[in-house]
């Protein structure tokens, strides 16, 4: 860690060697030689800079919204590796694969390097000055109502700048779009607990019943939850936590469950109510209204509707009753239906009757500076932007951190609608599908080159403000930080207000210094405070602690059975994988080559199908199958997978890019494209699991590229990966 008061920005200059060649060691010389290579020497160097010695700088991971703090290992002016920052309450020094691949986002050979202006089908390199001029020119005379800014989840000072900029344009049209977000859950939580995202204490629970929440994989804050999970498994008083996962397609979390219960897609709510009923029958006292409401959900009916055996249902109720506190989680698999909000309400109700609220579910501290609190994304934003585009209401569209052309269902015609906007500006790192539709593409600094502050939606302890700082000099001369760009743009409108800020760095620094007393003693010198802040890479504030307001749902309407269609007999589950998520990371080769944990497939998409169903259809592994929905078809290799309901097929999200460079383009298929436009009744979120498909063989067959060998997941009687029943193991004596 750096702990002297050397100016952080000068540091970058001395550290950089101005394009010093990296020796590909091992391929170079193989014998002692003299006078062939040049020694790299500094003109001036800070005391802590020595060749061959790494320095470590703290920053924030920008790969997802969890806001993990990272430590970058920097050597000879280049960042080599991202490691976890142990001081962070979110990730406590740990990382996921996705986070580590952040360096590949930074060093990606397919980054946009120059501002590009559309000229027919081609992009023409222009200067930044010209780009700014062009934006000013295009915005000139356009009413604020016709200017849309579409971003992904955004927080910290960038959000402040952006909202100020939108203000300066007299526009209220900042849309925060996340293709995959727990938006339904937020609404349900707000109803049940009074907050959108409470704190979950998996580690304090003795039983975790998760309805499709992939908290070890891609749900909310996976690194944090993984650590909680480790404690949960160890148990607080020697009693190991029990995880039961309920879902129709096995997730990574499901693969780690003690009992994985497969349910008919969409019946998660039914099961939740059935469990409440069973709990009542087992002697748990239920509020009368609840008892009445769950009365019809007797175990036979529930078993019949969900496909979970009565035996399991009884056992589940028994263990939930016996081991308290427990925790019931709710994930995307339960949310992604037209009745998603109802499912969510039912599941939250289960938490409430189990008395978990206040024990394993607590309110998060609220952010003391609401203006920097995250703007949370949802997919309803896409619907709104799309409608506005279709109606011609949007004249100028800015996009940042989103790729709606890729993630919007084909049926929305997003790309075509986008063309209707007069001027589209994409702030982009890569030429992704959306950037390719834009008129102007502005190249951004990578997260490892840029300044920023982040506040994650999920705050496990107090509020952590994470500082993002450059770990090395810019790789490309003509990229700009998003903050700098916004500052430049806003200066066009409000020059006087922002004149004091030379750049975004100055802005962030001033802003944080202004609130110094929130973070440190007033007496601390500004420089010292600032350097300590950068050195730590984060600052924790207590925030205001809240209490949850438990409100029992009065009515939960669950459909008797989910929709089916004789023409499209199967349900498509677009699965979210921990490394590729919504596809914005698909050009990071480590992630492409990192095998999917469950299927071990790399570099390609696949269609998961239950062997029973596959046998019915005559499909074997590697068959290229056509998955057809009402809105289109995709063709991908079949993978026979027991961890899926026989009436469902699953295709992972994230692959299938037509753009975004060499590592993303042409690998796999994009199931976003064929999704049906079905929405959650209450929130208007796209119901991701409501797409019905049919599946047919194309006659082609390939060898599935996967790590799993010919033996599949079978150990052939060898003692390789072994498991042991909990009643046969003595865990208390373990070190």
């Amino acid at each position: 860690m750096i702990d002297n008061n050397f100016d952080r920005r000068d540091f970058l200059k001395v550290l950089g060697w101005g394009g010093a060649a990296v020796a590909l060691t091992g391929c170079g010389n193989t014998s002692v030689q003299d006078g062939k290579e040049t020694v790299v020497s500094y003109v001036e160097a800070a005391a802590y800079v020595a060749p061959g010695i790494s320095t470590y700088f703290n920053s924030t991971c920008a790969q997802c919204e969890a806001g993990c703090s990272v430590t970058g290992r920097v050597r000879e002016g280049r960042v080599l590796k991202l490691e976890g920052n142990a001081d962070s309450v979110i990730n406590r020094g740990k990382m996921c694969g996705l986070g580590q691949a952040g360096v590949q986002h930074h060093y990606n050979p397919d980054r946009v390097r120059e501002p590009l202006l559309r000229n027919g089908d081609k992009g023409e390199t222009i200067t930044w000055e010209k780009a700014y001029e062009l934006i000013a020119q295009k915005l000139n005379g356009v009413s604020g109502d016709n200017i849309d800014f579409m971003t992904g989840t955004i927080s910290g000072h960038l959000k402040v700048l952006l909202s100020n900029y939108m203000d300066s344009l007299a526009s209220k049209n900042h849309f925060v779009y996340e293709a995959i977000s727990p938006a339904v859950q937020r609404a349900a939580n707000l109803k049940s607990y009074g907050v959108e995202m409470p704190r979950f204490h998996i580690n304090k629970a003795k039983v975790v019943l998760s309805f499709g929440a992939d908290f070890l994989g891609a749900w909310v804050s996976p690194v944090h939850f993984s650590q909680q999970y480790a404690q949960f498994r160890k148990g607080s008083d020697g009693q190991r936590g029990v995880l039961v996962q309920v879902e129709s397609k096995m997730t990574l979390t499901g693969a780690n469950a003690d009992r994985w219960l497969v349910v008919k897609p969409g019946t998660e709510g039914v099961l939740a109510l059935g469990v409440i009923n069973a709990l009542g029958l087992a002697g748990l006292s239920l509020p009368a209204a609840v008892a009445a409401m769950v009365k019809p959900y007797d175990k036979e009916r529930v078993s019949q509707e969900t496909g979970v055996s009565t035996d399991h249902l009884v056992k589940l109720a028994a263990i939930l009753k016996e081991r308290s506190p427990s925790l019931v989680l709710l994930g995307s698999a339960a949310e992604g239906y037209a009745h998603g909000s109802q499912n969510a309400a039912a599941i939250n109700l289960l938490n409430q009757v189990l008395g978990n609220v206040g024990k394993t579910i607590e309110a998060a501290a609220s952010v003391p500076f609401p203006q920097v609190a995250p703007s949370l994304g949802n997919s309803a934003a896409l619907r709104m932007v799309n409608n506005r585009l279709a109606d011609g209401q949007t004249k100028v569209l800015f996009t940042y951190g989103v790729n709606p052309v890729f993630t919007a269902p084909k049926e929305t015609n997003f790309a075509a609608n986008m063309a209707k906007a007069g001027f589209k500006v994409a702030f982009a790192h890569y030429l992704d599908e959306t950037a390719l539709q834009a008129d102007l593409v502005l190249p951004l600094d990578s997260a490892l080159e840029d300044w920023g502050t982040h506040i994650a939606e999920y705050q496990p302890d107090g509020v952590q403000i994470s500082i993002q700082q450059p770990l090395m000099e810019k790789l490309h001369a003509n990229t700009r930080g998003m903050g700098d760009v916004l500052l430049t743009l806003i200066k066009k409108n409000r020059a006087a207000e922002y004149a004091a800020f030379e750049d975004y760095y100055a802005y962030v620094r001033t802003a944080l210094l202004q609130n110094k007393r929130q973070f440190a003693d007033v007496g601390v010198d500004d420089e010292v405070f600032w350097n300590d802040l950068l050195s730590a890479g984060l600052v924790n504030v207590a925030g205001t602690s809240n209490k949850l307001v438990a409100k029992l749902a009065s009515e939960i309407k669950l459909p008797a059975a989910v929709d089916t269609d004789a023409k499209f007999p199967l349900r498509l589950i677009p699965s979210v994988t921990a490394s590729l998520r919504d596809g914005r990371h698909a050009n990071q080769p480590w992630l492409q080559e990192s095998p999917d944990p469950l299927t071990t497939i790399v570099w390609d998409s696949w269609v998961e199908i239950h062997p029973k169903k596959a046998a019915e259809l005559g499909i074997v592994e590697g068959d290229i199958v056509e998955v057809e929905s009402k809105n289109g078809t995709v063709k991908a290799q079949a993978y026979l997978f027991n961890g899926i309901h026989p009436d469902a097929v699953s295709i992972p999200l994230g692959r299938g890019h037509d753009a975004m460079g060499r590592y993303a383009k042409g690998f796999g298929v994009n199931p976003f494209a064929i999704l049906d436009r079905v929405f959650d009744d209450e929130t208007g979120e796209l119901a991701m699991h409501e797409t019905l498909v049919k599946i047919s063989k194309t006659g082609k067959r390939v060898i599935v590229v996967k790590d799993e060998g010919a033996a599949g997941g079978n150990q052939h009687g060898k003692k390789i990966a072994v498991n042991i029943a909990s009643d046969q193991v003595e865990l208390s004596g373990e070190a």
Binding site: G84, K94, L475, K612, G733
Partner: protein, 291 residues
């Protein structure tokens, strides 16, 4: 003179290892992996790519079996009939999957070492199975004789292969370790570059490494802390305590506790009966019996 050398140090030259031998001192690097904590998330594998300059080979080469993941996460399905060739005989994997991080087991009596024609792979005094890339001629005998098949051969010259480390990507490479060119065998080293750096720095201080001062990349990153790495000699180290608690002996090919009917312990080593004496202990995944 060599004859005198031979005669004088005869007992030293006839010294066998590890059974009946003095333990390594002051270091014996070892690992324990708690499969109950491992979630199969692949973070360790990516960390290994980042730390050890592993090439991303791409789809075609991966398909051809040329992948280079020193640490691979294996996924098994619990089956009722273990001898069946079918992936799973249950209709649904209702007890989840079994994940297993598999890397070089740094065997104490490694089968790979004896067969190398050029002596490129040896056992070090701190208990590692070392691999000298520059000595390797690429006979691949070591891999042929490795029961775990955790040795990876450079089938192509990855540093010069298109799209492996294009343009700026080279700047990510860790300068502390050699970049392997074609025809060389490589494998997990327990992040030997970190171990060596740590050992050197404490030598400067005249002391021995304490637990936690050297971490492997996979251990450092593991979100659930499933991987423990450390010095097996050091009774303060977590890895020592875990091995001790699980009653797993480094130099045994059959553990005493396995002869007891229900020891309640879950430590084991893979293919222990082959007498390679692996340095990695796994702890069985636990399954709740009440549900």
């Amino acid at each position: 003179m060599s004859v005198t050398n031979l005669l004088e140090n005869w007992s030293e030259f006839r010294h066998a290892h590890p059974v009946g031998d003095v333990p390594h001192d002051p270091y014996k690097w070892a690992m324990s992996i708690d499969l109950d904590a491992c979630t199969g998330c692949n973070a360790c594998s990516v960390a290994c790519y980042a730390e050890n300059n592993l090439p991303v080979v791409g789809k075609e080469k991966y398909a051809a079996g040329h992948s280079m993941h020193w640490m691979r996460i294996e996924r098994y399905w619990p089956v009722d009939d273990t001898t069946s060739l079918e992936p799973a005989t249950r209709e649904f994997p209702d007890q989840g999957a079994q994940f297993l991080p598999m890397m070089c087991q740094q065997c104490e009596a490694a089968p790979c070492e004896t067969v190398c024609p050029v002596g490129a792979t040896n056992h070090t005094p701190d208990g590692l199975n070392s691999q000298a890339y520059n000595r390797c001629v690429g006979s691949r005998y070591c891999s042929a004789n490795c029961p775990f098949k955790v040795r990876y051969f450079n089938w192509y010259d990855y540093p010069t292969t298109e799209n492996v480390w294009p343009a700026e990507m080279t700047q990510q490479l860790n300068p502390d370790i050699t970049l392997r060119s074609k025809g060389v065998m490589e494998k997990c080293t327990f992040c030997v570059q970190r171990i060596r750096a740590g050992e050197r720095s404490v030598k400067n201080e005249g002391r021995v490494l304490k637990d936690g001062e050297v971490q492997t990349a996979c251990q450092q990153v593991c979100p659930t802390g499933a991987i423990t790495f450390g010095n097996l000699i050091d009774s303060e180290s977590k890895v020592h305590q875990q091995w001790k608690a699980q009653r797993v002996e480094l130099t045994a090919d059959e553990q005493e506790k396995d002869k007891e009917a229900d020891s309640g312990l879950r430590g084991y080593r893979i293919l222990e009966e082959l007498r390679a004496y692996p340095s990695v202990m796994y702890m069985e995944r636990v399954r709740e019996s009440a549900i």
